[in-house]
Amino acid sequence: MAQTVFAPWEDSQEKPLIEFVNVTKRFGDFTAIDNLSQKIYAREFFALLGPSGCGKTTMMRMLAGFETPSEGKILLAGQDIGAVPPNKRAVNMMFQSYALFPHLSVWDNIAFGLKREGMAKDKIAARVDEMLRLTRLEKFARRKPHQISGGQRQRVALARSLAKAPKLLLLDEPLGALDKKLRQETQFELMDIQESTGTTFVIVTHDQEEAMTVASRVAVMDHGRIVQVATPDVIYEAPNSVYVADFIGDVNLISGKASTRKAAPASQSKPAPQPAKPAEPTSPSPSDERRPQPNAMGEWLHDRVLEPVLGKRDPNTPAPIVEQVTAAEPQPVSAPPEIPAGGLAITWSPDHPPLIASNASETFGGADVVLALRPEKLNISTTKPDAPNVLRGKVIDIAYLGNISTYHVQLDNGTMVKAQIANTRRVSRRQITWEDEVWLSFTTTAGVVLEQGT
């Protein structure tokens, strides 16, 4: 992973290790997997993510051989494995319950599969010892499963499923039973082991954080279909549907009607498309010369505290520049400055100006859309900032999580919006507390425009 980007799915020449071809699986009337096709490549760490009942476990059980597809076929290295029973497949599975044999010691559990292969005794011993070393279980080889901790059991299950050096390892909610800290540690261990053994891993999980951490690609599933398959960053930053945006991470969803904005650069002279927004005379305009500007707090401090002591401000400070700019181009003062032309304006509430998204396709023009905004992409301030998208609201709730704080802000029209700020300072310069009037702002590329009802 260090030098070249691992992305076999982008190479059309690459042969997939596993291929689902139009696979459908029904249980009576219930369709668990609905005409699904998907390729998984060798050495991938592929995550199947979705709520319970979405078909992810069925997909995994079909790979293991515990279920056979009702229609379609599954290819493993080009071979149809539909009729191959689980004990004849080069696929091993780590069970959610670990399924360790309680009557056998840790050592015998790991050796179980090797003994069935009829491997020579000394070779078995060598392989088991290797697995014990890999999972750091040497000290517990003689213990029975009920004599070790949950985390150790999880590692025994992993060692047992890896012992036969399968082409494909299936992990069914492998870390579900561990507490959070242990789970996070184990996720990195899993990634290390996956990399060092070069085995293809397919993991089933409902924990999106876990999927994002370990996987090279994540498949988000819903009702027996894969909604989106992509790398974790794409899934997070560019979800293809409201479902994916909502399932992965925290998101604010704002529904509205999109209209295309003029793409011509001349539009700068025209009044901005937000008449509701009051002009702010003190706001500085963009200038090539980026000088530090006092903000509202600074102004206030200056006027109240410094001025009586130091006297009037030095005329050489940025003030003349502001004057200069406003004098040169007085018209666009009312317009928010840094809005690139083009994109969409989303009308969503009579109490708020339309939201501008410059990163959306113009084909959405006239359509009902949803703007998906991640809380961490919103900025929160007590004074009105200069930003293309500004929303006014009141802080209702603050969730302090230590490293970050999530502010629940009720907008003027009643909509609740979450904004997340990293707590980089011990004492925030802008103390925001409950019931405070605040402004939320974000850039024109912060959100993702999605079709409604997806």
């Binding site: 293991a64 689980p86 009920h146």
Partner: protein
């Protein structure tokens, strides 16, 4: 204090209803038969002082035990009882295991019903149920009529009044004692263990031998002891279903007490039977203890 009181209840129970009667039986086994009431000598006369007690102990001896060793009847009866108990236990296991397995694999909503059906025969009298087998196993019985009806045999089979009838009777009577512990062991088993075994290269049959069997071993042990221990001293089933040549120690014991009225010899037979049973009882206890530890 309260705890000691609580613990003392079962011990008191054992003392009064087991240990004291056993000491009495043991004492009788050391006495001599007599035409008297009670039919043995000596009897303890505490009113006549220390000398009489001394005399009483001097008269006790192991004569009856030597007699049991000399007469081949008793040795044969013990061996025959052991054989019948072992064969019946194995038979019960062979019938009971598939039943327990089927119950444990049945859909969860069916399990209480199946469990009920296993226990249901206990609601009728044990004697009536054993007696009913006479009607099934006799030469004109239901079984023979069925076998001849479908043309499997030409002449009726002689089953009643043989050891076979005793095996069938014991297996039938003690079946629930075998099924229930095995069922409870199998029911606890996680199905994913079998899937894991298959995933690691076992066929279905291998998975059964390597995983299901060892995990139900505790249940098999418990069930086998629960059948073997009462079967060894069984008296009613051999006397109702067995023939004149069916030799079982329970029957011998009965004859000694009631027909022969030789209480001392009968007591000696009972004491030896108990000593034989101590071995499987201790094994059973160890098994239960091990199971409890594994469950922790």
């Amino acid at each position: 204090m309260r705890r000691a009181l609580l613990i003392s209840i079962p011990y008191l129970w054992l003392l009064v209803l087991f240990l004291i009667p056993f000491v009495i039986v043991f004492k009788i086994s050391l006495s001599d038969a007599a035409i008297a009431r009670p039919p043995y000598l000596p009897t303890l006369e505490l009113s006549e002082g220390w000398a009489s007690i001394k005399e009483f102990f001097a008269e006790l001896d192991f004569e009856n035990y030597t007699f049991l060793g000399e007469d081949p009847l008793y040795r044969l009866a013990y061996l025959s009882s052991l054989k019948i108990a072992v064969v019946s236990t194995v038979l019960t296991l062979l019938v009971g295991y598939p039943i327990a397995y089927g119950m444990a694999r049945a859909a969860p909503e069916w399990r209480p019903t199946l469990l009920m059906l296993i226990i249901l025969p206990f609601w009728t009298s044990f004697l009536i149920r054993v007696y009913a087998w006479k009607g099934i196993l006799s030469t004109e019985g239901l079984l023979n009529q069925l076998l001849m009806g479908i043309g499997l045999v030409d002449a009726p089979l002689t089953i009643l009044n043989t050891n076979t009838a005793v095996y069938i009777g014991i297996a039938y009577t003690y079946l629930p004692f075998m099924v229930l512990p095995i069922y409870s062991a199998l029911e606890k088993m996680d199905d994913s263990l079998l899937e894991a075994a298959e995933d690691l290269g076992c066929s279905r049959l291998q998975a059964f031998w390597m995983v299901t069997m060892p995990l139900s071993r505790a249940g098999i042990f418990a069930g086998s002891f629960l059948v073997f221990i009462p079967a060894l001293g069984e008296f009613v089933i051999p006397s109702l279903l067995g023939g004149s040549d069916t030799l079982m120690i329970g029957k011998v014991l009965y004859e000694e007490f009631f027909s022969n009225r030789d209480w001392p010899v009968a007591s000696a037979v009972a004491v030896i039977l108990l000593l034989i049973l101590i071995v499987p009882i201790v094994l059973f206890q160890l098994n239960q203890q091990k199971q409890q530890e594994a469950g922790k």
